[in-house]
Amino acid sequence: MRYPVLPLNVTEQLAKRKYDGYDDPLEPHVTWVGDGEDLSLTPIAECAQRLTSEVAVLPDDVDRDREEGRAALALYEALSHVPIEVLDDPGFWRFLALRYFWDFIRWREAKPFANGNIGKYVNGVSSTESVLPRMYLRAKALDGASDPSLAWALESATDFWRSHVIRVQTGSAPAVTAAFARSQRDARLGTDNGLRELAKLLNRSWTNIVMHVYDEIEAAAFIDELRDRVTELDQGDV
């Protein structure tokens, strides 16, 4: 499979210039790597176009994390034909970011972009920070779960998804991710009001327990148990 990639340094330079209004051509910097047939980019381009036009009409104060969750499912579907070895290449994510998803990413990260903080959202270096791979991971974290729409079921949940799901082992276990998200949806704990403690207990549990063997019911029972422990700890502090 042949697919397009962009180098790291060039991507960051082009992104800065793009934000400043320059429309430098991408093609001189794009390299097609691999062998065989060219990867079909059409479903990805169509997905980007759809997402970009959807967010363009949203009010300015919309919950952008929630929209990211909704878009994550669409992106995941659009990438379903892309081999893992291609998705494992940060250069491919860089190409997608600048070629198709620039407007969406600029909308999603408007605040950091305005502060000149652009590179990490498009460079693909960290799969949990760069916008496109982190969206992919968010949808993948629920792949096979009973309700993938949990990816956008929580309001203002940037910290939940980034810090407590996709950056940690929980994000690799759809049953646990679903149970955790559902538990937050149904009885939300604030970041400083139980969520951080619950996430800490859950992360620590992974040290001894391989939760990949849990189904959603077992995972939900375990999350409930940890929530009770957080409540007990909280009451013990008073």
Binding site: P90, E129, S172
Partner: protein
């Protein structure tokens, strides 16, 4: 920064299980990775995708003893063999893939083969040539039991584990070389004649590489970097590149050694996937004992850890070749 205390595993009777798994080996094509080790392979993406991944539980003449140890282990821990299984998971870091690739109940050990081909069919985790993969083999509790002191009771609890890591030459570079211009010297507040400078650029060497948005940068004078690029086959060039690599390693080791509290609360396992963990692996080699010894040196005598790095790079050979003009 995490200040969590480490979780203790307060179970008894696990020695047979631990001994059994410690003999296992992972074969990646012709490369072999012992238990609780990691190997780095120089490979192209195409070959990576074709190579078989085979788990060998024990050397052929010791397989009977391996099975016997598992049977004794179940008796020692007091859990029915039907409630325990060997399970193997394959992981890849960038895409956070975890694939469950093998299960065998301990009550079915007569059906266990000495070798298990984990790559047929090939799971997603073995399709990520840049990230490489980790294989974790566990003895796992399959169902919940009545809570009982010093005995695992929660479903999914592992009783023994062996881990195997395979990284590739296609993986992420540990640092990014960037031409050092006069403008950058001014921006970085460096003297006008600075030739090289390591900038961590918000990268934390004690946190997992895959979760960080920045890579450390090795700034190199722009003219020098251009010359290095133009004459990369000479012995002098090679020696200078080694020297720069050593500068980079030295900077990282000294940086982490100044963070004693952060460093001391992390075990070797905690450092897996971090810049420091990767440097330790490359300097000390695959042996966990050697890696632990090096980590201890980083904590107590970082300048000695630098000497180990110099030896691992084989700086001596590079310098002598450079002086003799041995361009090979």
């Amino acid at each position: 920064m995490s200040t969590e205390t480490r979780t203790i595993r307060p179970y008894r009777g696990l020695a047979d299980f631990e001994t059994a798994l410690s003999q296992s080996m992972l074969h990646f094509g012709s490369d072999v990775c012992p238990a609780d080790s990691s190997i780095a392979v120089s490979i192209d993406a195409h070959t990576f995708l074709l190579r078989k991944v085979v788990l060998e539980w024990a050397p052929e003449d010791a397989f009977g003893e391996f099975v016997g140890a598992l049977e004794r282990g179940a008796d020692a821990v007091g859990i029915d063999r039907n409630d325990l299984s060997i399970r193997v998971f394959a992981k890849s870091s960038y895409l956070k893939i975890v694939d469950h690739v093998y299960t065998r109940k301990l009550s079915e050990l007569d059906e266990l083969e000495p070798h298990v081909d984990l790559s047929d069919p090939r799971p997603r985790a073995f399709r990520a040539p840049r990230s490489g993969f980790t294989v974790d083999a566990y003895i796992l509790l399959d169902r919940p039991l009545e809570p009982n002191p010093l005995r695992p009771w929660r479903k999914g609890t592992w009783l023994a584990r062996a881990t195997f890591g395979v990284s590739t030459s296609l993986g992420r570079a540990l640092y990014r070389p960037v031409p050092l211009t006069d403008e950058l010297r001014a921006e970085l507040r460096l003297p006008a004649k600075t030739v090289r400078f390591v900038d961590l650029d918000d990268h934390d060497p004690l946190e997992p590489f895959a979760d960080q948005p920045t890579q450390p940068i090795l700034y190199v004078d722009e003219d020098l970097l251009a010359e290095l690029g133009a004459s990369h086959q000479t012995a002098t060039n090679r020696a200078m590149q080694y020297e720069m690599a050593l500068d980079f390693v030295t900077t990282i080791l000294y940086h982490v050694s100044t963070r004693a509290d952060d460093l001391n609360e992390r075990s070797l396992a905690d450092l897996e996937g971090t810049l420091l963990g990767e440097l330790i692996r490359r300097i000390a080699g695959p042996s966990k004992a050697e890696q632990q010894a090096l980590l201890n040196l980083v904590r107590s005598d970082p300048h000695r850890a630098v000497a180990h790095a110099e030896a691992a790079i084989d700086m001596r050979r590079a310098m002598i070749d450079s002086l003799k003009g041995n361009d090979s």
